[in-house]
Amino acid sequence: MLAAIKESSIEVWDHRDLLEQLTLRDIKLRYKQAAMGFMWAVFMPCLIVLSGLIIRYAMARLSGTTLVRADIANIAVKGVGWAFFVGALGFATASLVGNSNLVTKIYFPREVLPLSSVAAQSFDTAIGLVTLVVILPFLGVVGHVSMLWVPLLLVLLVLFTTAASLFLSCANLFFRDVKYIVQIVLMFGIFFTPIFFEPSMLGTRGAHLAMLNPLTGILEGMRLSIVNGHNLMYPLTTLVHGVETPVWEPWELVYSAVCAVGGMIGATAMFRKLQPLFAEFI
């Protein structure tokens, strides 16, 4: 397994110019002949925030509370992260099959195809993040030391997304309906990942179940460290109907990190093992 990962890393590094060219191609094609131009990059996060606001507004009305600026900031932070995950997986899943003319004709490490999809999506997300930095102060967010957690969380998000991309692109090559399964899972995944809500709203047991989603630790970690200024080293609880309910537990971070790194190792090894069969089975 280690040999496979080493071989994969060396080959991808040798083909870094190809990775760059393919990423550039994906970005150019996204913005060439596109009416929305760079608006495209913030379109999806904006939609996520808007739909989140509608849901939170309804929830606030029913419970007799009001929507505060921090709620918007929470959804915006997690929305950008979720948009990255969904966008990257959407493009990456189809990346091998969509480039079948290359896969069957020319040899190069095939990892670069899903990797370039993730990289192109990272470009969009970078625009989203810059927008976020501009907007957040207006939503009452101030600088905290805890924001130092953000780079680590972003790395984990990229790693986890890349692992899923490698796995799904490969699976879609062998089984064409994987693409549709991914579409459906991503469509409803937003309800299984705490984007519009916080795990604590589900009660203690519900919160722990929600934390089993590897994205929970990453996205919740982002909003807590950015909006709440919470140091992720320490647990955080809140009172829901007089019951102390977990908001954050440090093991979430460890769990997400294990999923991201372990997923990366497993997916790379699997991809390497199956790669020689690609041209034959595509």
Partner: protein, 396 residues
């Protein structure tokens, strides 16, 4: 010590015929069914499997060119795909010593919405070139392709010839140590093809090892040092160029009329006075004897032809020569003699016979053909051999 650049040892490749289960929806029920019906012996050739390559072995010395020839479906592309790491052999091994560059479907990496310039960088990277190298060779690539001012136009506006020319030009600037070429010299117009051939000759001169797949025997003869003939995945012939190409012609590979279902006339033998496969100097006088027998009384017009690859050099028949058909009685055997001078340029020629009845039905077509290799006359060049001489006392 000889320096071997490519070495292939007993390569086998199995493919599966028919559709493969390629969706989970089909796979899951099938997997359940398989589990219930018990395991299947593995490793054997199932009924829907077939061998695309069977026990193929060869070696290519550094700096030489090997022609890989064979009819459609003979396994040539499978062989190249294994050498370029696209496919894995079922068994056997191969070694390639040196950086491999492949000229196979040179426009595969193009994206239609990107400009020629962008595609040069993209396709170059796909072929394994570094960005800096592409930038350095960019002008040369554009120059070679003849795309000129259209380089900043999206390639979707290019003609198919322009597309192919640009694709070839990028690949041509790879500078690999081992070059694998699959039938790409036929891109572009006449001028560009000439450019490609000259480029190939140059590449060979610079010591690159070349594996060349083509149906164009003239190109194979002009560029290669040795050849290998594949037939249904097996090596049918290998080694000396002329012998292998001759073998290729003998196994068919071009148009042939449909022979009737119940022929009543059959060829017994067809050969020249020098034998079946002969090597002659240009201008040599040859006689071909064609012996055939008829099962019933019939009016025939036996024919004679010379082909070079897909080109018919000459073709005639008894009736066309003499103005009347040849009557054979039931059970009669006869021998026809054709004589000619091989006034042909150097090359490999297939000499064959056919037997038609006067209603136009083919009883036989060249299934016992001869192959005549005409050698070079170093004194003359050109497309035709006319036996040019200087008369004695030609100087007045």
């Amino acid at each position: 010590m000889t320096d071997i650049a490519v070495e292939i040892d007993s390569l086998w490749k199995k493919f599966r015929r028919g559709e493969r289960q390629d969706s989970l929806r089909d796979l899951i029920p099938a997997a359940v069914r398989r589990t219930l019906s018990g395991p299947r012996p593995s490793g054997e050739l199932r009924e829907d499997d077939f061998w695309a390559l069977r026990d193929v072995s060869f070696a290519v010395e550094r700096g030489t060119a090997l022609g890989v020839i064979g009819h459609n479906g003979a396994g040539k592309s499978t062989l190249l795909k294994i050498l370029t790491r696209l496919l894995q052999p079922t068994s056997g091994s191969y070694v390639t010593r040196g950086r491999i560059g492949a000229l196979i479907e040179v426009t595969a990496g193009f994206h239609q919405d990107l400009t020629g310039r962008e595609n040069v960088f993209l396709n170059g990277a796909i072929l394994g070139m570094r960005k800096a190298d592409i930038a350095k060779r960019f002008d040369a690539i554009v120059e070679f392709s003849g795309i000129g001012e259209f380089i900043d136009t999206p390639v979707k506006r290019y003609s198919s010839g322009m597309n192919a020319r640009l694709g070839f030009s990028i690949a041509a600037h790879l500078e690999p140590e081992i070059l694998i070429v699959d039938e790409v010299l036929s891109v572009g117009d006449y001028t560009f093809q000439g450019k490609c051939i000259r480029w190939m000759q140059n590449v060979l001169k610079n010591g690159t090892t070349v594996i060349f797949v083509s149906h164009n025997m003239d190109a194979v003869l002009a560029l290669c040092n040795s050849a290998i003939l594949l037939n249904h995945g097996r090596v049918a012939a290998q080694g000396e160029l002329a012998t292998v190409v001759a073998e290729y012609y003998k196994t068919g590979g071009h148009w042939a009329p449909k022979v009737m279902d119940n022929p009543t006339v059959t060829t017994i033998s067809f050969s020249s006075n020098l034998g079946h496969d002969v090597v002659v100097p240009p201008g040599e006088q040859l006689t071909f004897a064609h012996t055939f027998t008829a099962a019933e009384t019939i009016d025939l017009t036996p024919g004679f032809f010379i082909r070079r690859g897909d080109r018919m050099v000459t073709d005639t028949s008894y009736a066309r020569m003499l103005g009347h058909p040849l009557r054979l009685r039931a059970g009669e055997t006869t021998t026809l003699r054709w004589s000619l001078s091989m006034n042909l340029p150097a090359g490999i020629y297939e000499v064959g016979c056919h037997i038609e009845d006067i209603k136009g039905g083919y009883h036989d077509y060249s299934n016992k053909a001869c192959v005549v290799t005409v050698g070079d006359d170093p004194r003359v060049k050109g497309d035709s051999y006319v036996g040019l001489k200087l008369e004695e006392g030609c100087i007045d």
